[in-house]
């Protein structure tokens, strides 16, 4: 009886408590399972940036931030459960970190009036804000990636890829197939021969695919892989002595995890990116001082500066800047998810702003608008140095071919709008 009374008293107190005045950022992380090696550094970077803002600045606009982590295991069902269990906490923006979860959450977040940020993944045509009111995929999407790779190769080949052969090694899933249409269009435009080489999940055995590449002798290989597929592909490419400098992965195939297992053989491998690499940025000093040294790091503090840690940190920084924008628009510090959406839609990232945040030249400058939720789609290229075990940026963040990508986005989003009876939001 005492136990029951106690439970009722606690429940009553909880129900009567005012809503915590925190800026809540759910982190749908995956620290367990087959993809944990990629999920951990991202989640650490995301959490550490907000922890730094709390410790250094007292939060954002005077309101403390709070990260609620929910383990998805990179599983779509668990991801949706995480969304349902955290959306009532005042969650300002979701980063599902999975294309599968993203597809499930697009209608849910729209109905619940909570914005979602799918940075470099998810549904590419969500860049059309006129149709996808609550989904944002700035600063770049999969199609920008495909075009960015081709633009880079155009530069490498004096502006012409005529007569060249380019193979796409891709994860045989909705994600991996994303760039095919774009690359087909670009193949027709630039005159290169395009070859598709699918790899079935999980990609632990790719002998057939790389023997095929050995026979076909493409000039370049572009890869859209994930998880173990990346490590095996890099090793197999080295095995057949494919020149690593002609092998370019999308940003989900371009972390330390993807190249370390192959050792020296991975030297020269390239990957696309939409953010800076390494830890040579002032913000990391603040992270170390205010978070790691204070014992508040999300992980062991040993992931700082790795590609995926930086990506998590970059995502957190963009979310924080959207909060500031929303606070300025609405004149309140403790914003709602709907106001956060407005902030994301009016987000402007400039080099001056990045430098002031301790991230000079860390990412591209871009603007978001009601119609354009994808930003400017600027893409850079990084290269792996096996001797120093570091990535370095080997190109500028360059524009992608929006003449090709724009119509594809319009076509796909129009189909979604027709299926779901969506009228223009802008």
């Amino acid at each position: 009886m005492k136990y029951k009374l106690g439970t009722m008293a606690v429940a009553g107190l909880m129900a009567a408590s005012p809503v915590m005045a925190d800026l809540v950022f759910p982190s749908l992380s995956y620290r367990t399972g087959p993809y944990a090696a990629g999920g951990i550094p991202f989640a650490d970077g995301y959490a550490d940036y907000f922890a730094m803002l709390n410790a250094r600045d007292g939060g954002i606009g005077g309101v403390m931030t709070k990260v609620i982590e929910c383990e998805t295991g990179y599983n779509t069902e668990k991801g949706v459960e995480c969304y349902e269990s955290t959306k009532g906490e005042g969650s300002l923006v979701y980063q599902p970190l999975s294309t599968g979860i993203t597809y499930q959450l697009i209608p849910k977040t729209t109905a619940d009036n909570i914005p979602m940020h799918t940075m470099g993944y998810g549904r590419t045509s969500a860049a059309n804000g006129d149709v996808f009111s609550h989904t944002f995929n700035y600063p770049a999407n999969y199609w920008n990636g495909a075009s960015g790779a081709i633009n880079y190769l155009l530069n490498e080949n004096g502006g012409s890829l005529d007569g060249k052969k380019i193979a796409l090694v891709y994860h045989n899933s909705a994600y991996g197939k994303e760039p095919i249409r774009t690359l087909q269009e670009l193949s027709a435009k630039h005159g290169f021969e395009f070859k598709e080489v699918p790899v079935d999940h999980p990609g632990q055995e790719q002998k057939s695919q790389w023997l095929q590449i050995r026979r076909d002798k493409p000039d370049y290989v572009i890869m859209y892989g994930w998880g173990v597929m990346n490590q095996v592909a890099v090793q197999e490419a080295a095995n057949i002595r494919f020149p690593m400098e002609n092998f370019i992965g999308i940003w989900w195939s371009g972390s330390e995890n993807d190249v370390l297992a192959a050792g020296d053989a991975a030297n020269g491998y390239k990957a696309l990116t939409f953010h800076g690499v390494g830890s040579d940025f002032p913000v990391f000093d603040d992270i170390k001082t205010h978070v790691v040294d204070a014992g508040n790091a999300a992980g062991a503090g040993d992931q700082i500066g790795t590609v995926l840690y930086n990506r998590g940190l970059y995502a957190a920084m963009l979310a924080a800047e959207a909060v500031k924008t929303a606070q300025a628009i609405h004149g309140v510090a403790d914003i709602t998810p709907a106001q956060m959406r407005d902030g994301m839609e009016a987000l402007e990232i400039t080099e001056e702003k990045m430098a002031a945040l301790g991230l000079p030249n860390f990412g591209p400058s871009f603007n978001v608008s009601c119609a354009n939720h994808g930003g400017d789609g600027l893409v850079g290229v990084t290269q792996w140095d096996a001797s120093t075990k570091t990535w370095s940026l080997v190109s500028d963040f360059a524009p992608t071919d929006m003449d090709v990508i724009g119509p594809l986005i319009a076509e796909d989003s129009a189909a979604y709008a027709a299926e779901n009876n969506i009228e223009g939001n802008c």
Partner: protein
């Protein structure tokens, strides 16, 4: 040499090599199923656990470091030393024996006489438990695996240059074979010969076979069921370690290593669940079959990536004619 013929031979040879790697995984399943009738769902996770333990010991990693640090507020991660590969392998074998003992003592000892489906469910639970323990013990990050001898020679990776050069001179086309696959094949042959000799010529091996034939009869003549099951799980743990090393050398040691079990299932269906030679022959047939199908039909006509489903289709096709698999025991039950 005709180019298409050369490509076909190359694909065939690489299929054989891939088949050996599949067979390495399948062997662990066969050992346990043969001796105890348990389909060990956790075999893939055992390979992961063994490989993680090996790398952890090699690198001088403190086991359960995150847990220790979280509880005691310490900041320990490494002992500060590295262990030679051979010593690390021996220590890992001891860990796998301890695991075998624990599995027998805390799980299967309490399930003696239960239906096979109960035992199977127990191995599913074991798989999740072991995965969690491996995560807590060694962390989730990807680890490079280098098994090296005392003179610094490590597991070879990359194309066999001698073979490529020789075949190029002789046939006008240089064949590709991965050095690691050659090593895996040699190791697999040694492993199978060793296992067969152990089963045939040692007292423990004969006791193991007796338990496999009829565990009640074996019990009645004084064979310790507990000991035999620990022995079998230890052997399966050793096979898991070998599979973990070979697959881990290709992709690094990470949690998706446990998914290699998926590659063993069609091999078991085809070769039979109770035959060690069946695992090898099944592995070779699956390896060659899927690679040739991908090369001749899958990639040119079906868009590629046919290997996963074709392996299962091939196994099912065999099952139509031999439900017990190529080398499996035919079970006739009275109705």
């Amino acid at each position: 040499m005709n180019e298409q013929l050369a490509f076909t031979i190359e694909v065939f040879a690489n299929g054989l090599m891939a088949g050996v790697l599949y067979a390495l995984v399948a062997l662990g399943f066969v050992l346990i199923y043969k001796a105890s009738g348990i389909f060990n769902y956790a075999q893939g996770v055992m390979a992961l656990f063994a490989a993680m333990t090996l790398v952890g010991i090699q690198n001088g990693q403190v086991p359960f470091a995150h847990l220790i640090n979280a509880i005691f507020g310490t900041d320990v991660h490494k002992f500060g030393w590295s262990v030679h590969s051979f010593v690390a392998i021996v220590l890992t074998v001891f860990v796998m024996i301890a695991l075998a003992w624990a599995v027998q003592r805390f799980v299967f000892r309490h399930l003696v006489g239960q239906e096979p489906i109960i035992l199977f469910m127990a191995t599913i639970g074991l798989a999740y438990f072991l995965e969690g323990v491996a995560d807590l013990m060694w962390g989730s990050e990807l680890k490079a695996l280098n098994v090296c001898s005392s003179d610094g020679t490590c597991l070879p990776q990359g194309m066999n240059m001698w073979l490529e050069g020789t075949t190029y001179e002789a046939l006008g086309y240089g064949f590709f074979i991965d050095n690691l696959d050659i090593v895996a094949s040699i190791v697999a042959v040694i492993l199978v010969v060793g296992l067969v000799m152990f089963a045939q010529y040692t007292k423990q091996g004969r006791a193991m076979r007796a338990v496999a034939d009829d565990h009640q009869a074996a019990l009645s003549v004084g064979v310790s069921l507990n000991f035999i099951w620990i022995l079998v799980w230890s052997l399966a743990g050793f096979v898991a370690l070998v599979a973990g090393i070979m697959w881990g050398a290709k992709s690094g040691v990470q949690f998706s290593l446990s998914l290699i079990a998926l590659k063993a299932l069609p091999v078991l269906m085809l070769g039979g669940f109770t035959s060690i030679p069946g695992a090898i022959v099944g592995g070779l047939i699956i390896g060659v079959g899927e690679k040739l199908f991908e090369f001749l039909i899958g990639a040119p006509f079906l868009g590629g990536a046919t290997e996963n489903w074709f392996a299962y289709m091939l196994a099912l096709l065999f099952l139509v004619f031999r439900p017990q698999g190529l080398f499996g025991e035919k079970i006739i039950e009275r109705v």
